[in-house]
């Protein structure tokens, strides 16, 4: 069962991709480089404070702005186990699923503060905070297929290996 507990880093509404990974660092897509600057323009100390297993909690429209996949990649590389937001911007949502960064769409407004512990169960899409269990928006089956394959690359790889085209 995919269940884990992590420490919360709380952010507000409309966290944009320039805050997640500023464009000035996009001249290099190495994980170590992106990790060093993750969330820097929203919280300068984030790259130093974040630990493996921590959880980002945010308001509406998380990841708005650019299509840069460097944004979910930077969060993933930082060791963040899951991003929970009231809602996600479309391209970020798609990118997170494609690269296998766990995301859950549910509002935790007023329920958590920085440093709180929350328990996430990815199998049934629930978040537990201080005994209260909240259910996240379910993924449609088409997306579940990509998530279960571990991301778009593994999903498409199967298709290519099946000899459908060009190999």
């Amino acid at each position: 069962m995919k269940q884990f507990t992590g420490r919360v880093f709380l952010f507000g509404d409309d966290v944009d991709t320039d805050a997640i990974i500023p464009a000035r660092y996009l001249n290099n897509s190495d994980l170590e480089h992106l990790k060093k600057h993750c969330m820097e323009d929203a919280d300068q100390e984030f790259p130093n404070k974040v630990q493996v297993g921590d959880i980002i909690v945010a308001g509406k429209n998380f990841g708005c702005g650019s299509s840069r996949e460097h944004a979910p990649i930077a969060i993933n590389a930082s060791g963040v186990s899951c991003v929970i937001a009231e809602s996600f911007a479309r391209i970020f949502y798609r990118n997170a699923i494609n690269i296998g960064l766990p995301i859950l769409e549910v509002s935790l407004k007023g329920k958590v503060k920085d440093g709180d512990l929350v328990t996430v169960n990815l199998d049934n899409g629930t978040v537990e905070i201080k005994g209260e269990v909240l259910k996240a928006q379910a993924f449609p089956p088409e997306l579940m297929a990509i998530i279960e394959a571990g991301g778009l690359v593994s999903y498409v790889k199967k298709e290519i290996e099946a000899g459908e085209k060009h190999v």
């Binding site: 708005c64 702005g65 809602s87 290996e161």
Partner: protein, 420 residues
Amino acid sequence: MGLNLAEKILASHSGKETVRPDQFVMAKVDLVLGNDITSPVAIKEFRRLGAKHVFNKDKIALICDHFTPNKDIQAAEQVKMIRQFAREQEITHFYDVGEMGIEHCLIPEKGLAGPGDLVIGADSHTCTYGALGAFATGVGSTDMAAAMALGKAWFRVPHTQRFNYQGQLKPYVTGKDLIIYTIGQIGVDGARYQAMEFGGEVIENLSVEGRLTMANMAIEAGAKAGLFASDDKTVEYLQKAGRKVEKLYPDLDASYYKIYNWDVSKLEPQIAFPHLPENARSVRETKGIKLDQVVVGSCTNGRIEDLRQAAEVLKGRKVNKNLRMIVIPGTQKIYLQAIAEGLIQTFIEAGAAVSTPTCGPCLGGHMGILASGERSLSTTNRNFVGRMGHPNSEVYLAGPYVAAASAVAGEIVHPEEVLS
């Protein structure tokens, strides 16, 4: 029930008679686009897929524009990787220094997007081509990689919001003002996961350039696409690019998630205040905002009409001593046209710097980065924290008339204040 533009295009590309909102479709794409930031990641993923060849070398566009001409060694390494991939795969539409332009100015100019096309691009402003009647949407690098290999991508059919603009626009009010106003009305997530369809008599009278500016910023309302029906102007614009097209319209009985009808006759030029494009205000309510920099350019406002508007204001005037002005034509063709029309001379005589095409300062890449505490007015599309440089700098968004007038005044002003 009829179909709107987004539904028509997604249906035709997935071999279906009809599609409904929220339905998942696997659709064939007509063009897959990447830039110098997103393509290197996509190329790595393409290799991880185990793909050997792209699905069609004529249907992929790789455009080096963000940090190009390369600003540092790391950016140069990224472009080197794209260059090698483009040669190996014999990519037809690979545009490097000398030929390149800002991707969303270059693709329309070359006629690579048109009515009924389905385009995905690893750049959020790919939605620009909706102005030409294409369903065009931004995706990430992994989606780009998969589409380069397979020639198709999955889509959830979006709900569509329809925006009808009626009336007569006041002088100096442009497509930029319409879209900033619209985002101000519905918010930066007002069309999240949805398509926006623009129409009404104001849109019929608007130039293709103005429509490209509007479609470009659909993403700033969270939209998946921003679409326009095609008309004679669309056909003529693409004819110049050597492409003959059929017009595409939404059905009269198409269904919409929501319909807005706005009379915009009284609309004043708009300014989006920091740090979100939804912070729209009339320039008339904007007093005493001193500027350190003015930028005219980008995929939003780097086309010939934009340069003409800026030059109209700057002709015979000087850029204020207290600020820097940077003008960036969107493509080499636009640059040449601006030279032929004397616009570049006007800019240089006014004291503005003119750059070769690049995204440059729009995303804080190069060519005009802000220091701490500095403030820029820009014809670009985003004013997020740190977007143009230091996290303590500020970006205000506006159209080219307001930008040029403000460059002369040294603070944000209505163009009338400079021209009268």
